[in-house]
Symmetry: C2
Subunit: 120 residues, 2 copies
Amino acid sequence: MTALTFDVLADPVRRRILELLADGELTSGAICEVIHGEFGITQPAVSAALRVLREAGCATVRPEGTRRLYAVAPESLREVDDWLDRFRAQWSPRLDALATEVARGRRARRPPSDTQGGQR
Amino acid sequence: MTALTFDVLADPVRRRILELLADGELTSGAICEVIHGEFGITQPAVSAALRVLREAGCATVRPEGTRRLYAVAPESLREVDDWLDRFRAQWSPRLDALATEVARGRRARRPPSDTQGGQR
DNA sequence: TGATTATATAAGCTAGAGCTGATACTGTTC
DNA sequence: GAACAGTATCAGCTCTAGCTTATATAATCA
């Protein structure tokens, strides 16, 4: 499932949507408005982006009347964060003991990430 | 430049190469061998992946005789890590004060990430 | 119930990513 | 300097992601 999340993040529109959702729930319409303003793409294109986010488990939807409220599903992003763990040592060579402890504790608490490749 | 790194990470072969490099330098040939074994793709395809990694600033090369030694360039991955910052609050709602301090300190020490979308 | 608003889906097009086989380049060795 | 090993590039192909226009679906309101 990790792979799916990485795919999701490759698209700037999808990334931007996640950024918007980081501040809280938004309706499809509200997202369309912003994205259309910034990227110039139409409503169906935004709707498709939202579908990808949903199906990859990066966003959740909740109907409210005729609208749909989208929210970020942070667990998916956490997988990316976990994948990055193996490189952290290299960009923070002088991480103090305490921070290391915190980081290691977090990692230890979750199952090993899907790290391996696969056939194409 | 963040965008480029996200693109890089979308490909499983490129991700796998970075994983291999996380343990230290490797020659193009060694990488080819592993990747060919795992994904079944040919040398030119691996070479192309390495080129993408280079050009996106995710890997560096160093010639040694007739071979080329590749290494990961962790700064690029750090940009991804920084982008994730905005979601961390949501997956660690009970982060204790100290860890929060560490995280905030790290974020504060680096320039604001390229967070905005752009035209397509 | 018919009109309206909010959102999703369908059909069709296009650009580009990623692959292969062939070949060029560069450094080493005899 | 010829042959070879290691790596990169080229030409050409195919497949898919993402776009648009048009349309379907679903909830609300008059």
